[in-house]
């Protein structure tokens, strides 16, 4: 049986204000891309810091490649944190070279080209835009083809092209049996790259399933997003046949319901006084955000 890239048992890291993470247990095997989804403050970053050897959990145990020693894991592991810290006064090329030397691997000039930074590789990082710094950060993490890659909000600041590059890279890694752990709020990115998805709520992992399974669980449903003036009795919406979840939003409500003929008419009927109250209505096929809503009873965007 192949050795797990990562195995966490009951890891716990809570702060004085009660925020943080744990206890959480999870496993990441070869060729898996596990995405952790959760609203702001759900503990994604804290968990990723524990799983990437950066922070020590206060309880539980993490094993990297079957070994609990973080120092022995680091040569095979790379991390992208949310901060874009570089040595700004030197070139992107020199920064990349430093990471190659630190990891004791040969430089791969193709990395700069693939990340779209070949033209500016010789320029000081101080002149880079935020998106370019994020690309460089990811390129530096890919140096030496790490067996385990941990990414915190990797699509932050990336343009469409950068995002596609990252999707391609993660897809290739998966095919080559390398493991990736991603913490993000970006559901469309997760739907493109993940093989498994975990939902984090208040520092606890409330779901951990294959992506296909999660999406199938909302397969025959619809997400109805309503904006209206004034108060609406949400319990009336909940009583509509087929409705699974109703969540209040600042100016309306989000309804997740099994798709059927007459669903929308019934939902609108529950709102009542449409000509006076209804401002906007959107109906779409559900995605991961709706899976999250269905399983946790909370919206992913907080």
């Amino acid at each position: 049986m192949a050795v797990l890239a990562l195995e966490a048992q009951g890891i716990l890291r809570r702060y004085r204000n009660g925020r943080g993470v744990g206890p959480v247990s999870l496993r990441l095997g070869p060729g898996e891309v596990l995405a952790l989804l959760g609203p702001n403050g759900s503990g994604k970053t804290t968990l990723l810091r524990c799983l990437s050897t950066r922070s020590r959990p206060r309880g539980g145990e993490v094993r990297w490649f079957g070994d609990p020693d973080p120092a022995r894991a680091r040569p095979r592991l790379a991390v992208v944190f949310d901060a874009t810290a570089h040595v700004d006064e030197v070139s992107g090329q020199d920064n990349l070279r430093f990471f190659a030397r630190a990891r004791r691997v040969r430089e791969d000039p193709q990395l700069l080209a693939d990340s779209g930074l070949a033209e500016v590789g010789g320029e000081q990082v101080a002149n880079y835009s935020y998106g370019m710094r994020r690309r460089l950060l990811i390129a530096e993490a890919l140096v030496g083809d790490p067996t385990l890659l941990v990414l915190d909000e990797p699509t932050l600041g990336l343009d469409v092209e950068g995002r596609r590059w990252l999707e391609r890279v993660l897809g290739e890694r998966q095919r080559r049996g390398l493991s990736t752990l991603v913490g993000t709020n970006d559901t469309s990115f997760v739907e493109e790259v993940a093989t498994r998805v975990g939902f984090l709520v208040d520092g606890r992992l409330v779901a951990d399933s294959p992506l296909g399974e999660l999406l199938a669980s909302v397969g025959g449903m619809r997400e109805v997003s309503l904006r209206f003036r004034g108060e609406v009795d949400l319990d009336r919406l909940r009583e509509v046949a087929g409705v699974r979840q109703v969540v209040a939003s600042p100016d309306g409500a989000l309804v997740l319901a099994a798709h059927r003929d007459g669903l929308v008419a019934d939902v609108l009927g529950a709102v009542g006084e449409l000509d006076r109250r209804l401002v906007d209505l959107t109906i779409r096929e559900p995605g991961l955000a709706d899976c999250f809503l269905q399983l946790t009873g909370r919206p992913l965007d907080g």
Partner: protein, 253 residues
């Protein structure tokens, strides 16, 4: 495009020579030209009038020693807490680098620039005072050793604080008693605990060496003693910096 990315190391990178972190950090310091110019000039603002105006040797030597102590501690302490705030230390912490190596390399990069400052100051003293060459050399070496000790102190403070403001405050609280106990403000008693404390800190040696350079009569100290003290404090600074790598990187981890 790929060919361009594969270009050889840039000139400045080769100049910085070393292949690791300290080469990168040193190169960054040398490229911050405005900051570097200010760094190099500001000790002279104090040193030139002190060297040229015949200020009392004890007080002139005290001010020069305080200046060297501040250069070493503040530079390292502030730059490392700033690096932590930016997330750079987080990135270093997850690399497969020996912790002692990270501490030593970060310390070295700052120390080299500090040494440039001290060397300029010594050159001003040489031009203005024409001291004995061996005394000048031992004072220069002692300045570098004091910078190493102070740099390690700055690193220790950076390992205990979260931001540059806090680091400055803690440095002041730590450094002021050390300078006092070294006899900088009152002289060193001939015996007792303060005498012995002054012997294990570099500042009293440096003050005495500066007094010699300024043609004063320090209560103790000779060139061989200064050379020996330099070697000892260089070693202490280096070992302490290496040992502080782990606490520096793992603060809050």
């Amino acid at each position: 495009m790929a060919e361009r990315a594969a270009a050889r190391p840039t000139g400045a990178f080769r100049l910085a020579g070393p292949r690791g972190l300290w080469g990168l950090e040193l190169q960054a310091s040398l490229r911050r030209r405005r900051a570097l110019a200010i760094k190099l000039v500001f000790p002279l603002v104090l040193a030139v009038p002190l060297a040229l105006t015949g200020a009392p040797q004890f007080f002139a030597a005290m001010l020069l020693t305080v200046l060297i102590a501040m250069v070493g501690t503040v530079g390292t302490g502030v730059s490392l807490t700033r690096a932590r705030g930016a997330g750079w230390l987080d990135r270093l912490a997850v690399l497969p680098l020996g912790r002692w190596r990270v501490g030593l390399e970060l310390f070295l990069a700052g120390w080299v620039v500090d040494c440039l400052q001290a060397t300029l100051l010594i050159l001003v003293l040489e031009a203005a005072q024409r001291p004995d060459p061996l005394t000048l050399f031992s004072t220069w070496l002692l300045s570098l050793a004091t910078l190493a000790f102070s740099g390690a102190l700055g690193l220790a403070v950076a390992a205990l604080t979260d931001n540059p403001g806090e680091a400055m405050l803690v440095l002041a609280v730590v450094l002021a008693p050390m300078l006092f106990l070294s006899g900088l403000f009152t002289g060193v008693p001939a015996s007792g605990p303060r005498y012995w404390i002054a012997q294990i800190l570099p500042f009293s040696y440096l003050q005495n060496a500066f007094q010699l350079v300024l043609h004063g009569n320090p209560p103790y100290g000779s060139d061989p003693q200064f050379l020996l003290a330099s070697a000892a404090f260089l070693l202490v600074g280096g070992i302490a910096a290496a040992a502080l790598g782990r606490p520096l990187l793992h603060r809050g981890a």
